[in-house]
């Protein structure tokens, strides 16, 4: 059971797996030297690697619903998850990078700074996780995390830097998690504080809502034919806590094998089947919130992400 929990939490942590590939973007040179091709290389800005992170306790997090209380139902998993998360960082299987562009120098209040999130790959050949948290470690970013304009697909808006504290939000966050799929979350918020010398990010907090369907699209790390949602419902007995559409909360039921088999809408309507979490009428989600700290790092280039097979 412990291993199952570890796997679930591992998946929740959006661990980046898979081998590192050298930079091999299609916009490379050409055999006979024709027109100069444009390289797809984002400006990563000032980069930090998350060196500690974990689920906050359920009574801590962002107030997503406006009721004056923190929303973080998946925080119930924190006691099981957080040691795993720390170990994942230690062994280099969870490399989460934040890139801040247009940061005032020296640090000052600003609304122009831009924040992007990346799941990185160790830049060492062969990978050497022991220096990941050295403050000058080098990483690659899978090109699958870019859009066609060569910007991160995980970009925050409403960025505000005030008195050294950075806050941001985004209506939709898509984080590439190669092991289980892409985690889609909504109403995401983030905050952290710059150390005066900008050598650390402290008191970091990130949270949002992941819909039942989004969680149902993620592969389960413990049940081969199951989903992450199956584990959340079947193994942990957690129900959605965020009423996204204002019509009341849905309820999910799992069978004895831990598979979601039935969904119930607030009006009592039953939707049968393993696919019920993705029924268009199912709009509720689970709240979650992480704490984190970070220290400087370097992104040295792009890697052909394993999801970019072309």
């Amino acid at each position: 059971m412990i291993s199952a929990v570890r796997c679930v939490l591992y998946a929740l942590a959006l661990a980046a797996c898979g081998p590192a590939h050298p930079v091999a973007h299609p916009d490379g040179g050409t055999p006979d030297g024709g027109a100069a091709l444009v390289s797809c290389m984002p400006d990563f800005g000032k980069v930090y690697i998350i060196d500690t992170y974990g689920l906050l306790p359920s009574d801590q997090g962002f107030d997503l619903t406006g009721d004056g209380k923190p929303d973080n139902i998946l925080g119930a998993l924190a006691p099981f998850a957080n040691p795993t998360f720390l170990n994942d960082i230690k062994v280099g299987s969870a490399i989460f990078l934040l890139g801040v562009n247009d940061l005032p120098d020296p640090l000052a209040d600003s609304t122009d700074a831009r924040l992007a999130f990346w799941v990185g790959i160790d830049g060492d050949m062969p990978p050497d996780p022991t220096n990941n948290l050295s403050g000058s470690a080098q990483f690659l970013v899978p090109s699958a995390q870019l859009d066609v304009d060569c910007n991160s697909t995980t970009v925050f808006q409403n960025n505000v830097l005030h008195a050294g504290k950075f806050t941001a939000a985004t209506a939709h966050l898509s984080i590439v998690a190669q092991a289980i799929g892409d985690l889609e979350s909504t109403n995401d918020r983030l905050s952290f504080e710059f150390a005066p010398d900008e050598t650390r990010l402290n008191n970091g907090l990130i949270g949002g809502i992941s819909t039942t369907c989004a969680l149902a699209k993620l592969s389960s790390p413990i049940t081969p034919q199951g989903t992450l949602l199956d584990n959340i419902v079947g193994a942990f007995g957690l129900q959605p806590d965020i009423d996204v559409d204002g019509h009341g909360l849905d309820h999910l039921s799992a069978d004895s094998n831990g598979f979601v088999t039935q969904c119930q809408l607030p009006d009592g309507t039953l939707i049968d089947g393993h696919g019920c979490p993705c029924d268009a009428r199912m709009t509720n989600g689970y709240s979650l919130a992480f704490f984190f700290t970070a220290l400087p790092a370097n992104i040295i280039g792009l890697a052909a992400g394993s999801s970019e097979l072309h």
Binding site: P26, P31, G34, L37, V148, D149, T153, K217, E308, L309
Partner: protein, 592 residues
């Protein structure tokens, strides 16, 4: 032997020998592969190389592509919606394509767009038809739009039976992996195509710096190497030591149209496999119900075209075939067409099923002997439609003459009071009536072919007239340029209803016409001309007899030429006394 004979000719001519005057050019031939490709009118009949009927079966002249897959995304009406608000009902033809990926590519902004913002794997559509990777296979795709920095379109031939499709826009899947491809890549000032063979780039195209339409083509040559062409100019060839496997059972692949990004889109795609020969008499009726393209409304004379429809004229606007036709109600006296004639429009997106325009009749019924639409065939694809209507007003006892009517919306025509072509002066070959025109743009003006007859002789013949302003036509002094045939010929009693197209590849005017023989029998004839004046009737005429397609009468052909295929709509009558409009096609014949 032939070269020996021609080797004598200059000598004979230079010698002034009287033998030259006895040389009969008709005894020379133009039928061998060499003669059909030497740029010389060897038999001095006015037709050179592939223009000459005798060369039609020569492989060198068999250049009509055999189309195995064609889709015109650009001209789908529903594809004109913006990509931000696409028409949800506007989907790819499932009989041709199998889309993959999330989000799925959509038809919008006048094309097929990946409409995918993420850089991760390309979305697209895989052609359903397996394509043999052998000489003669050609893939032609038109694209438009400069891709984003990491956006791209890719057209490729893949041996994948299907392309993986995850449940999120960047799911871990096996993506599109074509063995032969042309892939866009952004460059400093625009973009280029990278020719890819066996997953390696072999060459880069010239840079494209505008967002207009450009044609990318990949074709397999006789040496089983692939060549890539951009806008008709070759820029890449697969390695000489990597020729595709030969043999009777070539590898097969499928066409994939893939990409990512929001800016670039596919306008059309066309795959041909080999070529065929022009065969003027290889007309085949459309299958099943599609043979009858349009019939009378048959609603007890409630509609203006209740009884019968006839005299088709066709053109295209976008991907729509615009079929203009004459119609009438039933006579109150007997089972025949009344003299209340009108002109209507029926349209079709698939060239098979036609729907009447809601505003029919476009040209209101009047008491007339004749009322037939002719069309200006504008190769620019303009949405303006110009009809040349042959009118004979019963009340005024006027002879039939031709009026010009133009419409910007293809449906509302204004009647103008002045005829653009009237019967000729007294005593001329066409002083009786003129009608049934076919018009082409020509050197900044218009050229019209029409039928006419004299007052003294009811035999219809075909003439040509030209206009510099499109309104005042002057007949050619050589008129009539097509006459009735000799006794016993299928057109011995007259020729009319000319339909003329210009074949730009062969620089050849092509005419289909109605031949009248004895006892009211008809058949369709075919003729060609290099100047529109001197016409050569096809030796194998008629190209279509009524009984060939189960009819009693055929006439008034209207023809559309598409790449590798001709489509004809004609008026015909079977056992029913009423005329209907029938549809046929001609895809030529295989080289011998």
């Amino acid at each position: 032997m032939a070269s020996l004979r021609f080797g004598w000719l200059p000598l004979l001519a230079l010698s002034g020998c009287s033998l030259i005057t006895k040389f009969d050019p008709s005894q020379a031939s133009e039928s061998s592969a060499a003669q059909c490709s030497d740029g010389v009118d060897n038999d001095a009949d006015g037709l050179t190389d592939c223009q000459d009927f005798k060369c039609l079966s020569q492989p060198v002249c068999c250049n009509l592509p055999v189309i195995v897959l064609a889709d015109d995304f650009q001209h789908r009406d529903c594809a004109q919606a913006t990509c931000d608000q696409p028409d949800p009902t506007c989907t790819l033809d499932a009989g041709k394509w199998q889309p993959w990926g999330l989000p799925q590519p959509i038809l919008c902004n006048g094309g097929l767009s990946p409409h995918k913002a993420e850089l991760c794997y390309d979305v697209g559509a895989l052609g359903q038809a397996p394509l043999p990777l052998h000489p003669g296979l050609s893939v032609a795709v038109t694209v438009a739009g400069i891709p984003e920095t990491a956006g791209q379109l890719a057209v490729g031939l893949t041996r994948q039976p299907q392309v993986g499709s995850g449940n999120t826009p960047c799911a871990l899947v096996q993506g599109f992996q074509p063995e032969i491809a042309a892939i866009e890549a952004r460059s400093t000032n625009g973009y280029v195509f990278l020719a890819s063979f066996d997953h390696s780039t072999v060459a880069e195209s010239p840079e494209i710096t505008d967002d207009g339409a450009h044609a990318i083509r990949m074709q397999i040559g006789s040496d089983r190497r692939v060549i890539w062409l951009l806008d008709g100019v070759e820029f890449a060839q697969s390695p000489a030591d990597q020729a595709l496997p030969g043999g009777m059972n070539p590898l097969t692949a499928r066409l994939g149209l893939a990409g990512r990004g929001l800016n670039a889109r596919f306008l059309d795609a066309r795959v041909s496999d080999g070529t065929q020969c022009d065969a003027p008499n290889a007309w085949v009726p459309n299958d099943g119900n599609a043979f009858v393209a349009l019939s009378g409304a048959d609603d007890n004379n409630k509609s203006w075209d209740s009884y019968q429809v006839f005299a088709p004229a066709v053109t295209t606007v976008g991907n729509q075939v615009m079929l203009y036709y004459s119609g009438c109600t039933a006579s109150s006296l007997d089972d025949s067409c009344s003299q209340e004639l009108g002109i209507g429009l029926a349209t079709s997106a698939d060239q098979l099923s036609f729907a009447r325009a809601p505003t029919n009749p476009l040209y209101p019924p009047r008491a007339r002997f004749g009322l037939e639409p002719g069309l200006l065939r504008d190769p620019t694809g303009s949405s303006n439609v110009t009809l040349f209507i042959s009118v004979n007003a019963l009340a005024s006892q006027q002879n039939q003459e031709v009026y010009r009517e133009t419409s910007a919306d293809q449906m509302q025509f204004m009647e103008t009071g002045t005829a653009v072509l009237q019967p000729g002066p007294p005593g001329s070959w066409d002083d009786g009536e003129v009608c049934c025109s076919s018009v082409l743009p020509d050197n900044g003006g218009l050229t019209m072919w029409f039928a006419g007859h004299s007052k003294s002789d009811g035999t219809w013949r075909i003439g040509v007239a030209r206009s510099s302003d499109g309104f005042h036509f002057t007949e050619d002094p050589a008129n009539p340029v097509v006459r009735e045939g000799a006794n016993g010929d299928f057109d011995q009693n007259g020729v009319d209803d000319p339909e003329v197209l210009f074949d730009d590849a062969r620089k050849l005017y092509r005419m289909w016409y109605t031949g009248n023989t004895v006892l009211g029998e008809t058949a369709l004839g075919y003729a060609v001309s290099t100047d529109g004046v001197r016409w050569h009737k096809f030796p194998g005429n008629p190209v279509l007899r009524p009984l060939d397609v189960g009819l009693q009468v055929v006439g008034s052909p209207a023809v559309l030429a598409d790449e590798g295929e001709l489509r004809m709509w004609l008026q015909g009558r079977a056992d029913d006394p009423r005329l209907h409009i029938y549809a046929l096609s001609n895809r030529g014949k295989a080289p011998q």
